[in-house]
Symmetry: C2
Subunit: 550 residues, 2 copies
């Protein structure tokens, strides 16, 4: 059902016109209960959503939309293992990967949990072997460095988590090579000793172009340095379902870790794709990450919509995207460890809901997923926050902040917290022309000089944000945070009635790349190309890309 | 003059309605000269802008807009040292920093070039001393690591450039600490030897909150390990105009590097703010970076608008933002070394043109600067490209690609190039329903199954992009590329008639943070706060942030 045809959609259109003239300043002034009404704690996370363009009527209306769109029913279908990925006819069960309860999770009547637990046990054994030094490299030395070779979902999740949980990285260094650009692998290998490196090749099919190119080049580098063919099996592991290809590559079966067709790439860090995490922080902490996500799953599965964190965040997003015209969404973690959280969310959100076709095969009549972007605070304040405060378009933003630091250092953390709170306050309150004039007058300005400067120092305010407080960036809190966003994205896809679990949009480029690569190999320009592609091939050749050998 | 009142603006509104029904596929099919018409080489960069939603009429109309908005006159005013930063009454002369000609650059009748050259000479002497080992640390060891402590413009530029020019980083390791989050400094210091580290504190006023907090903590760390107070002078340098504060900090005057009020933070990497670059790659290569930028300056200053790279890119941006409703702009470098190019551009563009007030003090009647975002390809293809291809909103995108790699490795670079070209081709061409149906039929699908899947595999195409080809990511090419974007941003600001050189939008947050920090220090919650700020302060305390000591 197209959401625009639902009664709640029409009611929300009317409601938006009522809310549009109101200013958050006044909404706060009018309602002393606003913060209590619009804040919530669950699964270890605290959400303040009081600084949104909403009144007491908004959330009930949005929840009606969720209800009419069947969000609860769709959620239950996902959790029950139904094949909700309808274009690929697959179940969607990343929640089973972190199911810490004793409940079975059936797919076509078969409980998947024994298989999940088997792979977790295999991961534990391997991770402990590597971390303890019981497992060693070809020359008998313990491993010091893990290099994950994967791309997209086989890269962004583990990379983001390892970066975030660096305080727990107690044994090995972790590296991530994803880009087919040779610089990525070459710059990483420079710093490594072949005797002590462990490569993990992460590709479900073991055919991903970039990953296999990097894996083959890494293997060549290793063999050149260690000599023996047999060294490969001691320095490579794989996360893949293609046992034939991994064996042909030289990886012994006990170092191959499986996952399943009901785990989408961008939802896979909870599976064996998380092996670099387990190696980096240890299996117990990896399981704490799973437990944090499971706590959020339980909350999502059971809390009523109006007290359900992912539902609320999802609905607020729909509110801005479809009723206020927001095209992008900023994620601003006040934690340097979350440096790669926005790139991770870009995949999660934009690959899931960057869709224009609904379940009936019709073109969506409304906008779907936003552009997601962001950098850690306080850095962003000195970069793009100008735009957030005084640009012509406003951007809804999530501020994420841990109450406690892993690195308490003087007043640093208090400053971080103060800045985070101050930014959401500034976005909300703004600064009126009258306030600006008074400030400038107090500084001794008057007349023309004051009148000329004042408009530039005015802040419209009324710009919405959420604040998510974590006690500390622990494995459990991070697991909960990631699951929160996974389910938020689910809720939005359910409302828009798109398939959040396929990604056909990546296929055309792959097809076309094959033909262009043939040209580059042969040093030719196929007459079938459009003039731009042909012209660029000529320009690259003129600029020195060596045909046939680049 | 508000641009919306210009005759060309009205003509463009009408023209957009003519172009809107056309598809790029057809425009290419119709005009065999399209690529030659819409591509251009200057200052070492090749631009293909043929895959834009333009006809032969569009660029002349856009150039008329530029002319009516006085872009050329404003450009000349900037280059001549006029005080075009009208809210701060300052000249804007980052071009003087890289002026490799013998021409003087006057500010109020005084040539600034002797001062520029003096600081460059000081940088050279210092950089060569450090790099050769002639200058050494407190215990007599040569320096091995440079840590830049700065934020915003004192961080993003040098960091991006050092990351990009890593193949030239031949002597020292370079680190960048910006975030006030103690984790940023602590995680960096873990890897360093106090005897061989050189800190550069970069802050024009030497009062930037984050930078001074990090600098003081770094100094404490150093003194704790090296004992003597006098060690500070051997392990710290500063880029600042506040000689009193740098002296009080313990930095000798010969290690303090000046810059000037006509250098904005986000335009400062060409000044002494670039010192970490000079240390990392050597002063000759730093000067090659300047020379590349200078070549682009010369092109910008002299080429006619319709053959002027920054003018064309700027106008195309305005075309999408104001006539097609684009809210964001993607920057997609196919080069892993340009990992931090998008965050750098975020500041350059969003802090410059994230403005809503024009030169007359009126609110802009049209949209100004976009949200800028992006990650390197091919990584992005496995993450957010789904959204670019099949989302409901399209995003104009710049693809940036070097013809040659610094790390030639098997077929890696050919694959990188093929993917880059294929993505712009896919965005432009799309895939029609008929093509999809034929492909699915060839795969053996038919009837309902085919009909159900086909819409999901369709690509609308007609999504615009630019492709910028560099011969190789050399210092000169990078300098030229950065200057291209600087001037693009200038052109847009000139058309929108905003001040691209102030940043009042960052002030309110700073003010408010001071008050909240007082609360955090005292463990109190001021009754003056709004309910959300008060509630968050309570939530942080409950979650364990230790009042008065965090």
């Amino acid at each position: 059902m197209p959401p625009t045809t639902l009664p709640a959609w029409q009611a929300l259109l009317a409601h938006q016109r009522e809310v549009a003239p109101l200013h958050l300043r006044d909404l706060f002034a009018r309602d002393p209960q606003r913060f209590d009404r619009f804040s919530l704690e669950a699964a270890g996370l605290f959400l303040d959503y009081s600084k949104n363009l909403i009144t007491a009527q908004t959330l009930p209306l949005l929840c009606r939309l969720a209800q009419e769109a069947g969000v609860t029913r769709k959620r239950d279908a996902m959790l029950a293992g139904e094949r909700i990925n309808f274009t690929e006819n697959r179940a969607v069960l990343h929640t089973a990967l972190r199911n810490r309860s004793a409940r079975p999770v059936p797919v076509d009547g078969q409980d998947v949990m024994p298989e999940v637990r088997r792979v977790l046990a295999q991961m534990r054994e391997f991770a402990e072997g590597v971390r303890s030094g019981a497992l060693r490299g070809h020359t008998g030395k313990p491993y010091t460095d893990v290099v994950n070779i994967g791309i997209g979902g086989s890269d962004l999740g583990p990379q983001m988590v390892c970066e975030a949980l660096e305080p727990y990285g107690d044994r090995l260094r972790a590296h991530f090579v994803s880009n087919v650009d040779g610089a990525h692998l070459a710059r990483t290998l420079k710093r490594l000793d072949p005797q002590t490196v462990l490569f993990i090749v992460a590709s479900k099919t073991f055919t991903t172009q970039e990953t296999l190119a990097n894996a083959r080049s890494a293997r060549a580098w290793l063999q050149e340095r260690l000599g023996a063919e047999s060294a490969v099996g001691r320095h490579f592991a794989a996360v893949s379902t293609n046992l034939q290809a991994t064996a042909a590559f030289g990886i012994p079966p006990e170092r191959v870790f499986a996952f399943w067709d009901w785990v989408g790439g961008r939802y896979s860090l909870w599976s064996a794709i998380g092996l670099p995490i387990a190696l980096y922080i240890g299996m117990d902490r990896f399981e704490a990450l799973l437990a944090g996500a499971h706590a959020m799953d339980e909350h999502f599965a059971t809390a009523p919509p109006e007290r359900n964190l992912p539902v609320i965040l999802g609905l607020l997003g729909v509110w801005y995207i479809d009723f206020w015209g927001a095209g992008s969404h900023a994620v601003l973690p006040y934690d340097q460890g979350l440096l790669r959280f926005a790139p991770y969310l870009q995949q999660l959100d934009m690959e899931s809901n960057g869709k224009r076709i609904d379940s009936a095969g019709s073109e969506a009549a409304q906008h779907t997923g936003p552009v997601v972007w962001g950098e850690p605070g306080t850095n962003g304040q000195h970069a793009f926050f100008q735009h957030l405060h005084q640009g012509t378009r406003w951007t809804p933003a999530d501020f994420i902040v841990p109450a406690r630091s892993h690195y308490p250092l003087g007043e640093h953390h208090a400053m971080l917290l103060a800045n985070c709170l101050a930014q959401t306050q500034a976005l909300m309150l703004g600064k009126t022309r009258e306030q600006v004039r008074a400030e400038l007058a107090a500084q001794g300005l008057d007349g023309d000089a004051l009148a000329r400067l004042a408009p530039h120092k005015e802040f419209p305010g009324n710009r919405p944000s959420n604040t998510i407080v974590l006690p500390q960036l622990t494995p459990a809190a991070l697991g909960s945070l990631i699951a929160l966003y996974e389910h938020k994205v689910f809720v939005q896809g359910a409302i828009w009635d798109v398939n959040s679990f396929d990604q056909w949009g990546v296929e055309l480029g792959k097809q076309l790349a094959g033909r262009i690569l043939d040209d580059l190999r042969a040093g030719t320009v196929s007459p079938a190309h459009d003039a731009s592609t042909a012209g660029l091939l000529h320009a690259l050749t003129r600029a020195g890309s060596a045909p046939g050998s680049t």
